[in-house]
Symmetry: C2
Amino acid sequence: MGKEVLYLKIAKIMMEQIQTETLQFGDKLPSLRSAQKLYNVSLNTIKLAYMELESRSLIESRPKFGYYVSHTSQRKLDLPSVTKMKDSKIEGTKEDLIDKVFGTISDSGITQFALAIPGKNFLPLAKMKKSIINVIKSKNDFGTNYEPVQGNHNLRREIAKWSLVMEGKITEDDLVITSGAMNAIYNSLMAVTQPGDSVAIESPAYFGILQAIQLLGLKAVEIPTHPVYGVDLDALKKVLPKLSACCFVTNFNNPMGFQMPNEHKKELVRLITHYNVPLIEDDIYGNLYFGAERPKPCKFYDEAGLVMWVGSVSKTMAPGYRVGWVAPGQFKDRIIRQKLVQTVCSPSLYSDVIADFLEYGRYDHHLRMFRNKVYSNYLQIQRAVTSYFPDNTKISEPKGGFMLWLELDKRICTEDLFDEAFSHKINFAPGRMFSQYDQYRNCMRLNYALEWTDRVESDIEKLGNMIKNNI
Amino acid sequence: MGKEVLYLKIAKIMMEQIQTETLQFGDKLPSLRSAQKLYNVSLNTIKLAYMELESRSLIESRPKFGYYVSHTSQRKLDLPSVTKMKDSKIEGTKEDLIDKVFGTISDSGITQFALAIPGKNFLPLAKMKKSIINVIKSKNDFGTNYEPVQGNHNLRREIAKWSLVMEGKITEDDLVITSGAMNAIYNSLMAVTQPGDSVAIESPAYFGILQAIQLLGLKAVEIPTHPVYGVDLDALKKVLPKLSACCFVTNFNNPMGFQMPNEHKKELVRLITHYNVPLIEDDIYGNLYFGAERPKPCKFYDEAGLVMWVGSVSKTMAPGYRVGWVAPGQFKDRIIRQKLVQTVCSPSLYSDVIADFLEYGRYDHHLRMFRNKVYSNYLQIQRAVTSYFPDNTKISEPKGGFMLWLELDKRICTEDLFDEAFSHKINFAPGRMFSQYDQYRNCMRLNYALEWTDRVESDIEKLGNMIKNNI
């Protein structure tokens, strides 16, 4: 097709401009209409050319702002490596290390790079307060009474309403309210496994998932994971028939930040459907995209009700409220029963407060602001790490969310580094937390959803110097 | 000892007066000082005589009001029977029945005899609202931030402060905040068992405990339980070496209402210590005593840290807040880790609201009012059941809390009766929910902590008539 050739030709021209640094990192590309005139082609041809560049991570689109040359175009630091399937001794999760990191959860004197907690300036505090007042005024029992076990009706309706990405496939009846996303993951795992069963996870994996698997007496199968494309589907396919569940963070993965491509998601859903293996999909960061639009979750492609889609307000509104949910497909009744046994129902007031905010708080506006702030911080931390960390540092390329994954010189032990950093009131998540094997010792995860101040800048510099001094 | 003989002599005189109805149900006894003058003996002798009568359930003391001839002195209806140890087929908990009953949890149109939910007029709503406002004003993040995993410091301090019954043996450091008592029981069970282990429970047992045992893949061992003295310690002793845990509701048992005598509690603690078997003690109703003082929990006698003492505000302040706690003794670290994995931390605001109420809400005053209301309702429901139910109805004799346990004619199936009652907008908890065996089919549990209105009176009459029509 001539048309296809044309857009590839234009894309190639632009690629050359980027490679020769005619177009540099951060430069804005011509708008679609300007480019159309410039190259004298149809709007669609330009769109295809830009999509081609975007798919190669050479340019990035920022909603309402246009297209920019991306960092990746001139990466100074490499991507982190992909780990192989392990056959070595399972050493379990590093409970003591995790305890140490979580010990800092409500310590406001520390620069919190460790935990995925958004800074106060990211949260809609004033509107949240307004919602609390609204709710107290409107409820004559002030929330002292029990909620339905499945969860507050208003809240479920609002969550369904705002699940635009699902294009109407989710209704309030499909949702169960949980005590944060972690509780949804824990209960989803419990609903589809028996002690001793195997569950596939990404490697590195979010330590919360590793801990839940251990607590429930399950076996984690760590699947090699690519820092840009996510879990290796070929490797997964080989073990899938032996698994009771998969548990993946498909969008803006924790800790790697990747967005699994749609084609991979479709293939993943096809595979789990074929082998009848439930997928717990932690999509807690899904709304925090840096690209043009909210990526689809696997749940969108799920016809069999095998995907248990997990979300929460902890990353964008109020971590302390512990309001999460799951759309558990065919496992809904089990999840509701488990919830009844574990806690009877969710606390009352918060459900109404979040529902009120979703209804009247201009949620879309808030998310847009939030995304812009997080993206700006991502550029900051990327720049800072590139400046202050050693040149052999490997760095992930998050497409959203608020986590950066770094692979340092082999000689660095980030577990030791944690103590040194902590004495300077800096923390981060050491890599060892993200596997049941003795690996990722030279890795770390950094949260960048904190207010970017001079202190934060200087703390990154301090971290970089500590690393340099330890090589 | 002459002194002992003297007090027994006086007790005997009074017993005769009660038996001959010289002293009738509800009559006030002379005050201790009047009686002392009357019998011309020491104050201590009179105290001993009254204690003797109280231990025989012939009189009851009402705090600040004095001693009254109790209902039991002239029982028209018998006590429920004690079940034998079963060797029959385990049929599991009646999940569908429990779902049906909990389906009514937020239905305000129904007379809620089924669930142990205090009526709105029992709760300190206005003060709770004040506490919410206080907290919102004082917290500049409006509770959006994470709490420490173990639980809010203020709340733990206030709970420790109000644990007067423990005589200073509980500090804030001993407590872990949970999502209601049910979550504390679930996590306590999880902390001390592996799937397949056996756990002793009372029979009949609170269905929440039965469900938690089932969800965790444990085996329930139902111990014969006396309607006045609680679990049969001789029967327990025989199976104790094979158990991983005991889980009992020692004070104002759910569903039977008994208060385990102190001597039994001491012996129970001695036994579990000897065999090194943890005891999960659900003491959620402990503050709702009808007698002279708050009964001691087993935890008070526990030196080894084997008792996991569970409490909550759900029965006295705000069921919907889901604020509970456990003093888990030697299992504290495990419980904290489990909590981290399951939900990261407790929701923030509620902890502060309850802490504020405990600090400034005149908690003692509230509890006194609450107890008086519940006791008055107990007398109402006891009278109503005696009037409207068939004469062969057996009725429990709660010493506190808000549950009445009835054993009806053998021909009655309360599971069928539930549907009939429900069509009249009345519900209750059918006996079958309280065992894993096919038993208690002719039993029911009634919650009497609801506002006693003409409708409630007439609903008890309706229930009585339905039963009569089914014999």
